[in-house]
Amino acid sequence: MESDEARRQLHEIERGEAASWLHFAGHEWWQPLGFGIWSAAFVLSLGILQGPPRSLVTLALIAAPLAYVRWDRQRRAVYPQGPMPRELWRSTWALVSLSIAVALFSPSVYFAAGAWVAALATGLATAAAVELYGRVYAADAERVRRRLA
């Protein structure tokens, strides 16, 4: 096999392995809203409810993301696995950092202003974080597309 042919095949390999990750670029309008409502409900369940109702609602809220992932997997034409293109690591770190920031922000608002204000603030912060993550991911995916064009 000639070097040019080997290079062409490796390029096709990189393009193919990245395809499922690029499919995830571009989030939908309801996703920040949905995650915001979910996180606000989580804060309220921990801050307002007591005893068995709190346990039940909290368990349901923990199960909700698992159900979401299952549903999301079924509705998509492809679902990624394995190593992601290196450009997408930036958005992954953004997601981790934003999640930690919201997790630290929420209890501090709760202790300062109570459950309802904390729920509202957490919901808004989560929605903003999801929106930002979606934009960073889309920008990173565009860099991958340009490299593999």
């Binding site: 096999m1 070097s3 080997a6 290079r7 062409r8 095949q9 490796l10 096709e12 390999i13 990189e14 393009r15 193919g16 392995e17 990245a18 395809a19 499922s20 990750w21 499919h23 997997r73 034409a77 492809v78 679902y79 990624p80 696995q81 394995g82 190593p83």
Partner: protein
């Protein structure tokens, strides 16, 4: 690169995956849990019949499984790489990388 090193790298090359379309199918499946027919057709920019032909060859080699759900126009066909398919694909990819140093 020595002749021996080149020779052993070439041993990893899979004749089934030397076809660019079949290699592209396996590359998408390497990075995916599964992929639907329509997604692969768009990625490869091929016709329905061409993709069906390539997929049938890969299925006959034991490199992927084809799953059909529903019937008629609303039915969906999806593909998943088998363990043997992934192993062959990775050997092929590693051989290419070795060849290019």
């Amino acid at each position: 690169m020595t002749r021996a090193a080149t020779g052993s790298a070439l041993d990893g090359l899979d004749p089934i995956l030397n076809s660019p379309k079949r290699l592209a199918v396996m590359a998408v499946l390497e990075g995916s849990q599964f992929a639907e027919f329509g997604f692969l057709r768009e990625h490869l920019a091929v016709s329905d019949s061409d993709l069906s032909k390539q997929a049938a060859t890969l299925e006959a080699a034991g490199y992927l499984t084809i799953r059909k759900s529903g019937r008629g126009r609303g039915g969906l066909t999806s593909f998943q790489a088998t363990a043997a398919g992934k192993a062959a694909y990775r050997r092929h990819r590693d051989a290419l990388r070795t060849m290019l140093g």
